[in-house]
């Protein structure tokens, strides 16, 4: 038997630590916090001409998810659309007033992002749009996939 003395031998953990920190940094950079407001179970329609949202305002757009039953989800919770939109509109109005940004023609300069399942009926969609219009929203962004998932 060989008489190698392995006592006190310690692996050099530095390269492994370097690599792990690089991986942690990567995941920290690509983490998507906005995903929390999206209902990723929805099957959006596919529209090749859809483009990324061109909005650079400081205030967050209102994001509404509509599932096949016509229920509206916001941040993972089912919400009553009338209550939720009116509350958001009130809050937004206060924010705009405090920022000194007047509303033009009683219209909010903030878009509503509508993420609706492709099988949602127009009746369900229009109910949400009308509610938003009633509270002063005029700019809408209808979400769509730019290509079919899995392709």
């Amino acid at each position: 038997m060989s008489g190698n003395n392995l006592e006190g031998a310690e692996p050099n953990l530095t390269p492994m630590l370097d690599m792990v920190f690089q991986l942690v940094t990567f995941f920290m950079l690509v983490i998507n916090f906005k995903g929390a407001s999206m209902d990723l179970s929805l099957k959006l329609p596919v529209l090749g001409s859809a483009r990324p949202l061109e909005y650079s305002g400081k205030l967050e757009p209102l994001l509404l998810n509509i599932n096949t039953e016509g229920k509206v989800h916001a941040y993972g919770q089912v919400v009553a659309v009338e209550d939720y939109v009116s509350k958001e509109a009130r809050l937004l109005k206060l924010q705009l007033e405090s920022a000194g940004t007047p509303m033009k023609d009683k219209e909010f300069p903030i878009p509503v992002i509508v993420r609706a399942d492709r099988n949602v009926t127009f009746k369900q969609l229009n109910n949400v749009i009308e509610t938003c219009q009633k509270h002063g929203y005029r700019q809408f962004s209808l979400s769509a996939m730019t290509k079919e998932e899995g392709n």
Binding site: L13, L17, L23, L47, R118, K123, L142
Partner: protein, 176 residues
């Protein structure tokens, strides 16, 4: 001058195991919560509330060339979209003229696009808005295709047409 004594620093070894443990825990957290952002796009629209459908009468006036007579003197172009029981498009009328009959395939979409383009090309008619009267059964997927065709049209100032209004039409029950 005072002499500086150089002491040999004792070798210090950090115990990296604890830091590695923590880094692995962080890494596990990020891997488990990682969800790549979906490849999503948006169709930006300006949706004012609908205006009353008062133009239908004038759409009966005779055509004045270029196939656009049915919307003379209008600023709003009315489209009527009827759906079948599966929520698919069965008929699209521009004004009173049926433009698309049957399912919404590429050919029908191209026909609709061509027709709208011919209307928007008439400079004497200052169209600035499209109003869609939509069957309440129509599926969102089908609606988006029509909205997409509408937003491809150009206004006289060269801007894309983004002013769209929706009106809900009650679906007609099939006749027995």
């Amino acid at each position: 001058m005072s002499r500086r004594r150089r002491r040999k620093a004792p070798s210090v070894e950090l115990n990296l195991a604890a830091m590695l443990d923590m880094a692995f825990q962080l890494l596990t957290f990020f891997i488990l919560t990682f969800r790549p952002a979906p490849v999503e796009g948006q169709l930006g629209l300006h949706l004012p509330p609908p205006v009353p459908l008062t133009q239908v009468k004038s759409e009966k006036e005779p055509s004045t060339g270029n196939g656009g007579g049915e919307v003379s003197d209008l600023e709003t172009l009315d489209l009527y979209i009827t759906a079948n029981e599966h929520g698919e498009v069965s008929l699209i009328k521009v004004g009173l003229r049926p433009v698309v009959k049957g399912r919404l395939n590429k050919t029908n979409l191209a026909a609709l696009d061509q027709h709208l383009k011919s209307l928007f090309d008439i400079r004497s008619i200052p169209l600035d808005r499209v109003q869609l009267a939509v069957d309440d059964r129509l599926r969102y997927e089908e609606l988006m295709k029509i909205v997409d065709v509408c937003t491809k049209q150009k206004l006289p100032n060269g801007q894309p047409m983004q002013r769209i209004s929706f009106i809900e039409m009650k679906s007609q029950a099939p006749k027995p």
